[in-house]
Amino acid sequence: MEAVLKTAFPFMVITAGVLIGFQMVLMIVAYTVLAERKVLGWMQGRVGPNRVGPWGVLQPFADLLKFIFKEDITPDKSTKFVYFLAPLVALTCALLPIVVYPFGPEITSVDWSFLPMGLGEGVKALPLTIARIDVGVLFVLGITSVGVYGIMLAGWSSNSKYSLMGGLRSSAQMISYELAMGASVIGVVLLAGTLDLGGIIRAQQQSTFRWFIIPQFIGFVVFLIAAFAETNRTPFDLPEAETELVAGFHTEYSALKFALFFMAEYVNMFTVSMMCTVLFLGGWYVPGLSHVFEVGSIPYAVVSHFAFIGKICAFLFLYIWVRGTLPRFRFDQLMNFGWKFLLPVALANVIVTIIVVFFLNR
């Protein structure tokens, strides 16, 4: 019994970590939707939702109930299996990258020997990461690129011309901007010398400028623009352009299937913001915090964690701000911008970084 428990204990801890992490992310995402409606309302001189609960804070739950009770329609002559699969793929691929991000520094000051049956034996540190893998950056990029399938399959299986147009547009857009995104990440990887996300944060602590946004400012801007395109947000929201394509790839979706797409879009915003924070803003690292609290103690971890969430929320606000400000691109402008401007700039940035790193390391 004891042996079984000892074997199963790490799995239980990881499962608990996954549940807590996903739950928190989904809560933040739900409130991002509310924040978007509120902030857009203020920008346009309106009030925004304020009926459900005080200042409308219960609005996300009301929306969820509404989604559940709507009628679930499947269009005639659609390929049922693919139609069903598409939203699942979209949300899964949006959520998966969360497991590799470090949400905070390791907690090393706690003595875990108080746990019963010797479960805490040999445990030195509690990492605030669900899975530490060697190739975190590649994993995140890979899963993000698999996420395109959700949108493409949705567009193809709906058997509607608006959906097909939306699916085609989005796949072309995502293939194009993925290149620029990957090229802008290379600069950071070159400076850090590792593909591990935790390692990148550690490299930023030891670097001269503390945050990679200073030496890699061009990479940061390219990444941010590509991130807007990858998440299909304004000014790159052509796949779901309301005024041209009704709603693009999810025109034919209703009820919970639509809710899954909706959630996938916002979770994608969150994970891309997280990637941007880790790569360019030092992740959970706050310069000078190690002088206030002891490294590895619980208050240090808590403050770092909230700093991390705060940086992500700043990016989420930027998304909403841009949506309230900029108009939409035309499709040929989008393609020209991606291939003829963004990609060359990103490649030039890579070349300059290679030269600088080469001479610094000599």
Binding site: V82, V135, L138, F139, G142, S145, M152, W156, S171, M174
Partner: protein
């Protein structure tokens, strides 16, 4: 124990997806099944302590190549595969080839099983990104350069292939034709 269970889970999924890829007439279903094969193979690579290859497998195969294939399927709006094959003897040939290859597989399986069991090397440095990168840019520099040139050639070649023939030339030909006809009349 866990390793074996995971292996049989992913291996079964890979084989099922591979069979469904060959079985389905609709190219989009084939493509989705193939993505299933790639993802399960990537999971097997992780159990083989090769995280870099697993990530690159997802990034290149599932994320780039198959997205392009699905994009082409949607762009051309392909229907189901055409009906009965005109070359009937291909079915016998294919079946025969399949039997031969399967027999070979089982022969290899038995031969390797009977041979002295190779102990798996537990030093996990082989799959690390650092080791792969060092090997790539020291010992295997020439193959990497050749692959780079190959990719450049592929880029140029695909641009040349996808380029539309200049339309004005066609119009000139048509005009000349009509002029000639007018002269004849």
């Amino acid at each position: 124990m866990v390793g074996t269970a995971l292996f049989f889970l992913f291996a079964g999924f890979a084989i099922m997806c591979a069979i469904s890829m060959v079985y389905h007439k609709n190219p989009l279903y084939s493509a989705i099944s193939l993505v299933g094969v790639f993802i399960s193979l990537s999971c097997i690579y992780i159990t083989l302590a090769a995280p870099f290859i697993a990530a690159v497998q997802i990034l290149i195969y599932a994320g780039a190549i198959m997205v392009l294939v699905v994009f082409v399927i949607m762009l051309l709006n392909l229907d189901d595969d055409s009906g009965p094959n005109r070359l009937k003897y291909l079915y016998t040939l294919g079946g025969g080839l399949g039997v031969v290859l399967l027999a070979q597989t089982f022969f290899i399986f038995y031969a390797v099983m009977r041979a002295s069991n190779v102990p798996s090397d537990q030093t996990l440095s082989a799959g690390k990104t650092l080791t792969i990168g060092q090997a790539m840019y020291t010992e295997y520099l020439l193959p990497v350069e050749i692959v780079g040139i190959l990719l450049l050639m592929a880029i140029i070649g695909s641009v040349m292939l996808a380029r539309r023939l200049a339309q004005p030339q066609l119009e000139i030909v048509v005009e000349r034709e009509s002029e000639l006809r007018n002269d004849e009349q």
